[in-house]
């Protein structure tokens, strides 16, 4: 099979959720439609490179997917019932005249509903993530499996169970109101951010053959921002991911060890992504409704704009963390706030804030608390206590690059 050129690959992935949205709207059954669309995508990947791009790629995909769907129904149903069934699945108002590629009742809502379905509350986070990558992102099962470093059979089973769960939970489409759509948005944003974080934190595996989950999350968020241009938190999330991803090349060393913000080579940061992040964040802030993603994006923007960690606008960062705590109080944000406080008022104030944060049971035993404490003890000049805290954190982290970083940092302190 001739490999797809990147432009066609992008086109297929962009069209995938639109085609699936249209099919689900017409034929209702999410699981069957999803399978049919995947088969159509595979068919396109096989035929388009040899035969050239069809005049109407989206119409082509809808036609092929519909054919697969009817084949499936044909196989499942007695011959006599089949025609009736397929016809009855099509809403009455669409049975007469809808051409294969004609826009549905509201194409935007159809695609948006897919995001909601994939983030169905009945699914585990891992399943939400996998299903979003497949149904919205248009990735194949093999690609998703590789991205998460699990066997393809495992991922196939996870996807198939997720679809069964949706079916059992009544995964039909009751066409939510605009109000309901807005209420569901945080769940969607959370899943997109999970995809991004997975790509950002998992650094094992062969980079060359892995789909970059961070780039996938950014792509999915971009599509979402086009669907709901009025939601500032979608833009906030997109900006946050752009700012964070801009540092990708600088955040790991030669052997995959973590390089923290203050030791990164800032000339290796992706200026293009930072500029785009700035523009997206400005658009979000112009709407005047502040949410947690926008605040985190604003903090990331201040870091990315600074020539060094010391030179960052720490009073402003500290104020933003205060704001973040009011809208979304999370233990990790408290740790960062304590670091910011230390940068403004000195390490003693930061350490006192950490002690306060440690009262939270979610944080008391967390390796990040030890890592933050070690960092502030080091700033305070208490070397041996800092080393002990780095070692405690190293013994408890579940990430190899992070452990390597913590061990190396402690060793450098001891070498001085």
């Amino acid at each position: 099979m001739t490999p797809l050129d990147p432009a066609t690959q992008d086109l297929l992935r962009t069209l995938a959720p639109q085609v699936l949205g249209t099919l689900v709207r017409r034929y209702r059954d999410f699981a069957d439609c999803e399978d049919a669309v995947q088969e159509a995508l595979i068919a396109a990947a096989g035929q388009w490179p040899a035969q050239g791009l069809p005049a109407n790629p989206k119409g082509w995909l809808i036609t092929v997917a519909t054919r697969r769907l009817t084949d499936q129904v044909r196989a499942d149903t007695a011959r006599r019932l089949r025609e009736q069934l397929v016809v009855s699945l099509v809403p009455a108002d669409e049975q007469i005249a809808l051409a294969a590629d004609a826009a549905g009742v509201n194409e935007r809502d159809e695609t948006l509903d897919l995001y909601f379905t994939c983030c169905h509350a009945a699914l585990s986070a891992a399943s939400q993530v996998a299903l979003t990558l497949r149904a919205v992102g248009g990735l194949t099962t093999a690609e998703i499996a590789r991205a998460f470093l699990v066997p393809e059979a495992t991922m196939a089973q996870r996807l198939s169970r997720a679809k069964q769960t949706i079916k059992a939970a009544g995964g039909q489409f009751p066409a939510p109101s605009e109000q309901e759509r807005l209420a569901r948005m945080p769940a969607v944003l959370h899943v997109v951010y999970l995809i991004f974080s997975e790509g950002y934190s998992a650094s094992s595996g062969d980079r060359v053959t892995r789909v970059e989950l961070s780039s996938e999350a950014i792509r999915v968020a971009r599509m979402l921002a086009e669907l709901v241009p009025g939601d500032p938190e979608v833009l906030g999330l997109l900006a946050l991911m752009l700012f964070t991803d801009a540092r990708r090349a600088a955040r790991t060393g030669q052997n995959g060890e973590l390089v923290p913000l203050d030791e990164q080579d800032r000339s290796a940061w992706d200026r293009h992504a930072i500029d785009e992040g700035d523009r997206v964040l400005q658009r979000a802030l112009a709407r005047g409704m502040v949410g947690p993603y926008q605040i985190q994006a604003a903090i990331a923007a201040l870091h990315d704009a600074a020539p060094s960690t010391e030179a960052a606008d720490w009073p402003q960062i500290l104020a933003l963390y205060g704001l973040l705590r009011r809208v979304d109080d999370s233990p990790m944000a408290r740790l960062s706030e304590a670091i910011a406080l230390a940068m403004v008022e000195g390490p003693a104030a930061g350490l006192a804030a950490l002690d306060e944060a440690a009262a939270d049971p979610r944080l008391a035993d967390h390796h990040r608390l030890d890592a933050a404490r070690a960092h502030l003890l080091e700033r305070a000049g208490d070397r041996s206590a800092a080393i002990a805290c780095y070692h405690r954190a190293a013994a408890r982290t579940g990430s190899i690059p992070e452990r390597n970083y913590l061990l190396l940092h402690a060793a450098r302190l001891a070498d001085v």
Binding site: Q254, L407, D415
Partner: protein
Amino acid sequence: MKYMLMMHAPGNGPLQIASWPADDIKAHIAFMMNFGRKLAAAGELVGAEGLSGPEQARRVRAGASGEAITDGVFPETKEFLAGYWIVDVDSPERAYAIAAEASAAPGKGGAPLNMSIEVRQVMSGPPPEWTPGA
């Protein structure tokens, strides 16, 4: 045939590596990364994982009604499993050679660690002529 190579590290106290100078830690990490890459490039690597420290390990047993009963940390443990590789090779000798290479990973001052690597064959399914009913 497949073999599992299990790397055991000394338990009983802090991570051994924590007392080394930074450059020695770096050299050790670089060696391990390169070792994995070489096995993968040779088409011999099936899988490899590093395990988190023994401090977080729990022993689990089912209780009377099947509930999980966990047992805590084992500070007295002399050594613990730090990680493993599964390799697919032509002979046990090749598996031993790979294990010896891992065993000689550089430690403090660049001296080979000569740590103990347990090599176990991964059991396969039945050979064709033994398949019942075949």
